[in-house]
Amino acid sequence: MRTIIFATAIRYLTPLFLLFSVYILFRGHNHPGGGFIGGLIGSIAFVFHALAHGSDRTVNTYFRMRVYSQGKQPEHDTPQYMWDLVRANTWRRSEEVTPSNWRYYIIRVRPAYMMALGLFMAATSGVLGLLQGKPYMSAIWLEGKLPIIGTLGTPTLFDAGVYLLVLGMVLKMVFTMSKE
């Protein structure tokens, strides 16, 4: 499926899918939607990207980040150093521009970590009710309403956890299967 039309379309569709999945996630409280469906839709973005470019490139683009750094030299003043750090890590990411004596660290977001975080959020959203002396998973809502998202509360946290869990699970399956 590595056609140029598909590959180009994916570049514009990926953020759209992600945005839509987040919309579905927050819509879920009162309308059809929620964490599970949102997570599936969100994973479609990465699945299509992996179809178009291969899963290694998907991992490199979205789930592995290089953080460049250099120990602070005595001749640098602090603002200058911070500015260089920001510049190296934002728009001048390619290795040709970044000075070769800079070290980089690779931050990897493994799907397993996403699953763990999602499970943690979902399980902990229930514990908050316990802390108030109510049964497990009792809903606690914040005061006030946000414009698009709506009211925030522990059920939202639960849904976000499910979102991450589903996303991590699907990505884990896709990456494992595309390796073989």
Partner: protein
């Protein structure tokens, strides 16, 4: 601690343990540390739960703060707390065994989180107060079992796991149908409310309840490996490594049995005149066929697998007699069997780790090299066979007495004969593995060199721990007998259960 917390902890601790393991993915030692912590805290939480249940008989909470018939009820009585404590003890022992008894690849590849999630499933089944959630927790159990059975992906394991999962999915389908039928008949899934509904003699749908009960009997019958639905068990349980099969073999079929006892004392009581003779028949055949199957085997693990089926027959026998003493005997037998069966599997694992085989023909002379292990095996095996004064004897005594009191002489006769054959079968293992001289045909170099003392000590520790429990409930049986009687009493007099579940349904 509030009961809201106490009831949720046995579910949350394994879950948090599993996700901490996920966070340390592939760093095997950290995963082991996290899993060990979770196991210990889980054991503690179940002990606290037991303590509370002993004081209050039944405790309940409504998850999500929705009132009882609509929300998700968690409830614990003495029976469920007993199951949980037993599960936690063998969970800890199997965990300790796995530190030395399981290969690094499997440990790194998700053994610990899967074991913890399996334990969460067990807690869920034992604590839930809702028929549909019971099904859901059984699915959690099934999926974790499937993943554990196939973990590592050797050929034999996959073959066993496929058999296991195919028939268990069929059983789950039957269960789901049963849940649906029950809901359509009574309009409720809450166990406490259903229990009240089926006790109204004028309820129009009451005659149809037995139809639903058949679905549950067959569904849980498959999961508990009752005759004639047990074929998957010996085909799949002997394939995975001991650290996996000992937990599954020790606990999972008993969880099926737990549910049968729970449902047939709480819900399906309207047609006992038909069900009980059927159960008695099934119990007799289950113990007989299981033990005869075991007699035909020549593999350490397979003999033990067939004995699981035979022992399930005894538990079913208690339910079939259906007197307080009989059900107490069943409960005592379940707890005793969880410990003993796990321990025997662990011992077979220690033997196999040294000699690289489970085949009785190739083994021999273990007594000369490992006398301590032999004594540990002997005590566990005699306990399984029911030699007085070890724990199996008391369970069988209670069951036999209840059977004689109820006039069920055939069943008691069968059970006593099966006891003898069990003893014969254990003697066979003892003769072949421990007593007879090593077969000359086997080459010397297949024996592993004696492992270093620390590793050996780590392998023996869980076995000694479990044997201590077995000896305790054998030599000082009174506390557990009393507990079983209380649990049976709670099962047969459901007022406390229904009142507790349905009365704390006001929203906090």
């Amino acid at each position: 601690m509030p009961s809201d917390l106490l009831l949720v902890l046995p579910l949350l601790i394994p879950l948090y343990g599993a996700l901490l393991c996920l966070a340390f993915w592939q760093r095997e030692q950290w995963m082991a540390v996290m899993a060990g912590l979770a196991q210990m805290v889980w054991l503690l939480s179940t002990v606290f739960l037991m303590q509370r249940v002993l004081a209050q008989e039944v405790i309940a909470t409504q998850v999500g703060n929705w009132p009882a018939p609509y929300g998700i009820t968690l409830a614990a009585d003495v029976f469920s707390a007993l199951m949980l404590v037993a599960a936690a003890v063998i969970g800890l022992s199997v965990y300790l065994f796995s530190l030395q008894g399981l290969d690094v690849t499997r440990r790194r590849f998700g053994y610990y989180p899967l074991l913890l999630l399996l334990q969460m499933g067990v807690s869920g089944v034992c604590l839930t107060g809702d028929l549909f959630n019971l099904y859901v927790w059984f699915e959690v159990l099934l999926i974790c079992c499937f993943a554990l059975l196939s973990l590592g992906g050797s050929k034999g394991q996959l073959e066993g796991a496929i058999k296991y999962v195919t028939i268990n999915f069929l059983a789950s389908g039957l269960l789901l149908s049963g849940v649906g039928i029950t809901y359509s008949l009574f309009g409720s899934l809450n166990l406490a409310e259903l229990a009240l509904l089926v006790r109204q003699p004028e309820h129009p749908n009451l005659p149809l309840l037995s139809m639903a009960s058949v679905f549950f009997l067959v569904g849980f019958g498959v999961k508990a490996a009752i005759f004639p639905l047990f074929f998957w068990l010996p085909a799949s349980y002997h394939t995975p490594p001991i650290a996996i099969s000992s937990f599954i073999a020790g606990l999972i079929t008993k969880v099926g049995m737990y549910t049968l006892i729970r449902l047939f004392t709480l819900l399906f009581i309207s047609d006992l005149g038909f069900v009980l003779p059927l159960l008695a028949l099934l119990a007799g055949f289950t113990m007989l066929i299981g033990v005869i199957g075991a007699a035909a085997q020549t593999d350490f693990k397979k003999i033990l697998s067939f004995h699981i089926i035979s022992q399930i027959g005894y538990m079913l026998m208690g339910l079939a007699i259906y007197t307080p003493l009989a059900i107490a005997g069943s409960i005592f037998f379940i707890i005793h069997n969880i410990f003993v069966k796990t321990n025997l599997f662990l011992i077979s694992g220690v033997v196999a780790q040294r000699y690289r085989t489970f085949s009785l023909k190739k083994l021999g002379g273990v007594y000369l090299l490992q006398p301590v292990l032999s004594v540990l095996f002997l005590l566990s095996a005699l306990s399984l066979a029911g030699t007085p004064p070890l724990s199996g004897f008391w369970g069988k005594l209670m069951l036999a007495r209840a059977g004689l009191e109820a006039g069920n002489y055939t069943l008691v006769g069968v059970s006593l004969c099966v006891s003898l054959i069990t003893l014969f079968s254990m003697t066979k293992i003892w003769n072949e593995v421990f007593w007879k001289p090593r077969p000359l045909a086997v080459k010397k170099d297949t024996i592993m060199a004696p492992v270093n003392p620390i590793r050996l000590w780590q392998l023996y520790l869980p076995i000694v721990l479990l044997l201590a429990f077995i000896l305790f409930i054998g030599l000082y049986a009174r506390p557990l007998v009393r507990l079983s009687e209380r649990a049976a009493d709670g099962l047969l007099h459901i007022d406390t259960y229904t009142n507790t579940v349905l009365s704390n349904n006001k929203v906090k």
